[in-house]
Symmetry: D2
Subunit: 351 residues, 4 copies
């Protein structure tokens, strides 16, 4: 940590800060400049916080040297982590293992597709077969839906999970689905091959911990106003709770732009890949919120190095109960998958 | 709802939309302009969503006429709701009623003060006595703490609730404390006079519903990137679940500003009071994140019409385990309360 | 325009609004719903503003139907405009025409590269030759520099323009350079093949008009906090002043993100291409502000359909007087151009 | 400056950085921690930029110690600067001196009021007399109008300045009016007692310099997406050009909020007053953009310590050519001035 003192701070204030820093395990080096006194405190920044040190008398500002996360950091592991979703591993409570295991983080892009919500048995079986045919590697759909308004469709809940399990049975595709609250983790993990934590729950710390205590892989979406450091600290909650199989997903952030539902902050992909070994996906459906922009921004996502995609696909988007405005049709998805092939190859990936 | 069609849309597309709108209970009025065709659909906007109608073929944009919330709306009740915290009412599971009941939403400003976290028995008893002496009407402190990093102090949990109950016993101040997850609602409501839902949980819909199913009043803080409509829809979740005692609190939003922890969006106070009958508080501690700005922004909060304040106060902020950089001392709080008096009177309130 | 009235508005207020709307040339259609009265005013939205109509007594909200820009709109011209930079056309005051003309908006991507600032004769000649060799189609560098601090390097001014003209003479590359103020337009247009209007000047309306009065093509960069509508209205200023040769460029916006200099809002590319016929470039150097992210985000820019690129390239970025942290080396640029080839082909373009 | 090196940086990179820092006049102190090497470079941070040092090989991040502005800094002058507008001083080219001089920055709040635009002679004389009666100390109105759309009213220009001069003649109120471009500075300064630089021109550096070269006081409004440091650097441009009479004004920033025209970031007032000696005003008209919120937010502005106010006032806001939706009537202004009195007193000011 670097502590910058106010002009005119007293010697006692500096001495007091030096002592407290030593108490926290830091080695303080005090430097007297013409305009400011500075203490460079060498040690593990994670034992305290910038905010706490800023309460020391005489201190104007504190500048951390180290990132506050550890297990998520690339310094721990320089290569991208690769792990599988699908198949029941030891400790994984999935009842019916999928036929195929799908690697996340490898050379082959992980394309996870499906409707925003499970709306019924027919709908999910139809779309599962279609996305499988078009080349998706996993099926995603929501059974528990977080909705902005209490008057909107809230999801089919466990009934939806059952339909998803049937879709897996038929297609062999692993299932990715959202879990909303800690007490549901075991229920959802019983059906799903991968637990999704949605944008509104990125800082639901009890849910993060609960997902850390199972072995099912976790897709942790970025909070819509999360800074990268906060995002990686959220991942750190799952990692420190014991589950190493976490992957990330940029899904757009909240800004002043109003011609899109979210601002798709795609630089997050190379930025995360520079800071963490966790695989990084991209979600152009939520990232844009507008169907017509999904195809070009999917291509951009692949081009900038995403390890996979999350795409909303529906047999008839104009009939979708949720998110229809950003959902592409099964046919558009199949076309897009074809168009992605040369792009993936151009950046050294397969699809 | 107003549906604006793309230039060159077909008659069939317009006819199809008219039919679907009738099916949803709207009365469609179609207007043919030179550059655009428009359907003004008269009816209850809440039966569908803007996003759903935007998936209709030929539709370019949809403009809602009505706000999507109802029970929270000022149209239901033009005057500010007033209700009490403290005292065990019918159905309120608080074990030990406070001696005094405190009205929220009335002429007298509700000043709720206390440390960010319950750190121990001595600390909370000391600060409770001090804020009571200085004129606070309720004590707020966190026993369950949502923290950005898993390496930070996570709160004393039930032990903290017990200390809070003891502080109430001694001072008569009602207790406001945060609840993080649905399964904790009954535990926290057993001790607390008012449940706080924090900024990160504003869209934790299961938590909102769980708080709606008890009778304990709920302090719902604004999400750090919530639009007003989303905020009022979050309140609507609690109201539709059966709990009418909800009050709101502006606590700063996330923007590009970096000289403050949050941008304190104080216009939210008159804006909310124009749209809802729910009482509106303001939290200048989180709103600024900087101790030196708390006093001036507290005054601003009172001046613009807040129904009360949420203030972080600690015996020694430089020793606080959490949020010390934005916490004022007991002495500063007492001084501030004196300075607020003429301001409150100037806007027709008491304190 | 759609006018939504407050609940309980009077008949007189509605009648008064109808009359005023007729006076502005609209045809008002008044619709009485259960909760709201609405006037759908059919006519040319551009004769007034949403804000003005919102001052009518009784009016709660106004919703525009039409976009406020015309000449920039895709409705005027459905295909992307193509025009050339370089070569002196009639009315174009460039003294020495470039040898080659470069189309903007066509199938071939326009790659405009060069250092942030002209730092000296050697530097600009070196980089011009290098970017030409690597495949750039035009040279960009600043002679007049807008700098955040008065203590920073402000550019070589006319001396810089002379070096740029010499670089053009030697390489045949057209020159793109920034103009800061209306009185400099003729001076800069004497040397340059294309005038750049920078992000801080996007709403400098007198500069826009002055650039509209010459024939030299204009590269109008997006303001760092401009909404799309404002951006297209800025282009409209140039177009209505008589200069049809305007092209646009996404360069990142200001948001809460702090791990990048700007949030590169790449969805702007397909969004602009859906709304306007003007060509749309992308600037991943400013868009990210971080050298390591320039290559992946350049690829993303091509993949999502940009008509060209603006890239900061310097012989030795660590010695650059300005923007070194986001500038790639000549060698990195050459490598990137190679890697872009298959990507461009994958989206039906050449480079 | 603090330079943090990447893990695994080489000794040569550190040595090279030390040498370059010495060349820039810094004294480098190198500290070897377990996870990072850090150089604390003691000296004047303003001789270089954070961004430049970040281009040094091996450097991961650079953290500045000192603020980049000097003359605007409170360290130069701990008390708020007080200066007068009105009256022709030496070097001030105003043709007709106002009868009264008005101090900016003193105990008495400077209330500057008037319509957004000068619309005609009658209108401006009427409103001038009215705001004078109600207690305003200066008249503000725009003759040169920066407008988002080229189809909107652009101001009466020099004719407007003449009406303003007549209004001053009659009321004795000093005139504040906007200047849009460097070549207009002398013209506007001939009529006006104070030059306003608007939000869109905060980083129009040539305009800042031109306003620095006259002696007329300058009201520099905050850019709608300006960070505080950028804002103070813009003021620094004027100050270093020779004009010490600069005052600032918070007017709202651009954020995701859509229920207001701008987010009124009022904490900027105490924050600026902590960092600079320049007087700080507040503009609740633009700050909110909604007439109904102007009165409460004006009160908040006074309560948090603003040195003055900028208020849009019109005889009949529903007829205003510009900004009617955020303009209060003459009558509302008079009422507000009365209500402000006890608030001003409560914070130790007069009005």
């Amino acid at each position: 940590m670097i502590l910058v003192f106010r002009p005119g701070c007293s010697k006692d204030e500096v001495a007091e800060a030096e002592q407290q820093l030593r108490g926290l395990g830091f080695q303080p080096h005090t430097l007297y400049g013409v305009e400011r006194t500075v203490i460079a405190a060498i040690g593990d920044d994670r034992v305290t916080t910038k905010e706490h040190l800023e309460t020391f008398p005489g201190v104007e500002r504190v500048l951390p040297i180290l990132a506050p996360y550890k297990l998520a950091s690339k310094e721990i592991r320089p290569e991208t982590s690769v792990f599988e979703i699908g198949g029941a591993g030891p400790g994984c409570p999935t009842v019916k293992p999928t036929k195929s295991k799908v690697p996340i983080g490898g050379k082959k892009l992980a394309v996870i597709a499906g409707p925003c919500s499970v709306e019924g048995r027919e709908q999910i079986l139809e779309v599962a077969a279609a996305v499988k045919d078009a080349g998706a590697c996993a099926l995603r759909a929501g059974a528990f839906k977080p909705r902005t308004s209490p008057y909107q469709f809230q999801g089919l809940m466990e009934e939806g999970l059952e339909y998803l399990a049937e879709a897996r049975e038929r297609t062999g595709l692993p299932i990715v689905t959202e879990v909303l609250t800690p007490t549901d983790v075991h229920l959802v993990a019983k059906y799903a091959d991968c637990l999704q934590i949605g944008t509104r729950n990125m800082q639901n710390y009890l849910l993060l911990k609960a997902c850390g205590e199972v072995k099912t892989p976790v897709l942790l979406k970025r909070g819509m106003s999360a800074k990268l450091e906060e995002y990686l600290l959220a991942a750190e909650y799952i990692l420190t709770s014991g589950n190493p199989n976490v992957f990330l997903c940029e899904r757009g952030i909240r800004t002043f732009e109003e011609h899109v539902r979210n601002t798709y902050a795609l630089t997050t992909v190379p930025a995360l890949k520079a800071k963490t070994h966790l695989p990084v996906l991209a979600d152009p459906s939520h990232g844009t919120g507008v169907r017509a922009y999904v195809a070009p921004m999917t291509k951009a996502s692949v081009a900038c190095g995403a390890d996979g995609l999350l795409l909303e696909v529906h047999p008839d988007p104009s009939k979708a109960l949720t998110d229809g405005q950003q959902t592409i049709s099964v046919k558009e998805f199949a076309q897009l998958m074809k168009e992605l092939k040369p792009l993936a190859e151009a950046v050294g990936r397969t699809i």
